[in-house]
Symmetry: none
Subunit: 217 residues, 4 copies
DNA sequence: GATGAATGAGGCTTCATTCAT
DNA sequence: GATGAATGAAGCCTCATTCAT
């Protein structure tokens, strides 16, 4: 039955998410932020639609299902949103520095400093990603951003090693350690009331500066 | 990993085994091990009583409720069991070395090496602890073990700083970073098939050796 | 299939088309055809407004509610549309034959042959009617068409029995059997890829010819 | 973790459904009968767990989920139960007759007569099977019994044709028609209060006797 | 000690329908 | 006329826990 115009319309709806209404975009953002709030505060396990809906001031969980294809879709959006915010915060702070050492320091300090500006964002994302399993079908989509960011970092470290700025070490292990240390520190910052995130950021930066720089500094 | 000070929790189970019959102890151990297996393989979220009971070869979940006061109780026992195993594995490997540097190295290598001997234990514990929240009533009991172990490590680092063996840094941040790096590496080891845990352990030990030692080494 | 007496229902739609604008009529037809498509392909249970709207290339289900008083109304229209199409297909093929035997044969063959021309129509209607229950408020409106068509057939059979062309039997049972056999055959035709509907139509016609004709043929 | 005894126990639970408790068997039967009742009375679409639970006098739908693996499992059991009852009713009535004609007649009369003894059973089964789609994963399991029964009938007809007892016709079309006619008649019997099922059974038997027997009877 | 039946809350999702724009 | 956001009921299912046996 008029399959031609049918598929034409579907194409638009499916392949162009930018065609979203203003209202829809606002609602999605509202729900994503409520999800970040809830997950950061109470953990992924408590991040039910019911609780997120309550946090967002919605009348029912059906509302969330209406705006998102499913829980995976919502979680994917949470990760995307946090990635976006983190990228926007960290990248410029890195780019105003030169040299691998200075840039690594900037990366770490900015990442931890993000906890001051958006205290809920990173903890929420960490919790979401921690719940992914290898067999999870949504794993690939969610980790795409994160993994490729890690790959970039690994590559940068290799260059700094070739230039002699960094000592010899396994860059993958180092990147894993840095990411883990940042995440743990940010999580602590979110939970311990008087935690001095800026100071901890500087400490972490020192730590990995010592860990990476070559002997003849 | 330092089980010395988690005595309050373990007292009943360890120091007064006469309070429980042999059969009961065996059943509890069987269930705890099944829980470790399931949580390591499928994640905390999938660690329902139903699945643990199946893994343990039990015919119903009632059995678990019968032997444990509740899910919190079981999880507490999982953490305690992993702590016990880790302690037994790591401590002797540390004690045969002398000096803060060598001991830190031994601690890190042994912790990562544990993943070879008991691949499911640490990942399971990490998953359980990641699910604790501040408002969780079982938080205190569960974190007692872990937190006090961290306190001990912090204190040791302070001593090594006083003796000049370690440079000046915030020991809490360092301990957090070390713990996080170990956990992340162990988790990777559990998921990536060809991962060389021993090599990664040495890398991590190098990393934190560079990060902690004083300049005039 | 005899639409002659379903006038009450169709009066508005057919005899007073001026009551609806052209656009409205087109939209309704578009939706009804989408509904037929969906129900034939996926079954009544999957025939939700959402799916029908997607099939029709509409952007929301509100459109359907706007044009139809409710789901019952849409389903009634599906039945009416299929009845209309079937009537237009079957009636002329019957009328060019004479005698009860030839006409019965024409009716059966045409009904099954309809599956070639409109493969989705009859299956959709069968599915819709199968979902009606005695207590269903929309039952009367929907079955009016079909039941009265059956009444006409029963009456014709009685005549053929009086004229000696058909043997003695209960015409209601016979009509029920014929209808059921046609429906089952058409349904099979819609599902089994290589099914030869024309051959099956001839077989069915033979079957009921043997079943109805008087002994002294 | 004791994988040997584990798998041993699971084997029993999974591969030996006969190991079911008496209580469990009773509950399953109770639920299946409630499902038959509801589906026959209100249709497949209204056969929700909630309604079936109410009919069975259960406190919640969780009860049904506890005893059945899912809705598919329950529906499969409904079909199996009706098949069992129908087989037990029809087969002996067929076997006391000899000759293809007499047996066909016995089959039809017994099938329709079943509506007197178990008025809800066949209608419920028909409704369940009508809702299966080709892509339904449970389709194969459910249709196994029914399809193979049809195959047996087809084979018997071929034999009767070879022996000259039946005329030449396409046995598959005939079997489809007989099944459809029986189902439609039984459905009518369940809905029309004063319907004389026995008489209709005799009529149907006559109908298909005329339709199948060879000319030189 | 052990079993497994029962419970009721809560999970996510789909649905038909309404209504402001 | 048309849109799509919003609603709230109902759907199936899983869960931890309790209790009679």
């Amino acid at each position: 039955m008029e399959a031609r115009s049918d598929s034409a319309e579907q194409e638009e709806a499916v392949k162009r998410p930018s065609r979203r209404t203003f209202t829809e975009a606002a609602r999605r953002a509202q729900i994503v932020n409520a999800a970040i709030e809830v997950i950061a505060d109470a953990g992924y396990a408590k991040g039910s639609f019911a609780r997120i809906a309550r946090e967002a001031g919605l009348s029912s969980t059906g509302m969330i299902s209406y705006h998102f294809a499913g829980k995976d879709d919502l979680m994917r959006e949470v990760v995307a949103e946090v990635s976006r915010v983190a990228e926007a915060y960290v990248r410029p702070r890195m780019e105003e520095r030169t040299g691998a050492r200075a840039r690594l320091r900037a990366f770490i300090e900015a990442s931890v400093g993000l906890a001051g500006a958006y205290p809920k964002h990173l903890p929420a994302m960490i919790d979401v990603l921690a719940h992914l399993r290898d067999d999870d079908p949504s794993r690939h989509g969610l980790l795409g951003t994160v993994d490729s960011a890690a790959d970039v970092q690994v590559e940068r470290m290799r260059e700094a090693q070739r230039s002699g700025e960094f000592r010899e070490f396994d860059p993958r292990v180092m990147v894993t350690a840095i990411r883990a240390a940042i995440d743990a520190t940010v999580t602590r910052a979110g939970r311990e009331p008087g935690f001095d995130a800026a100071a901890a950021g500087r400490e972490l930066a020192d730590l990995f500066d010592h860990a990476t720089r070559s002997a003849e500094r």
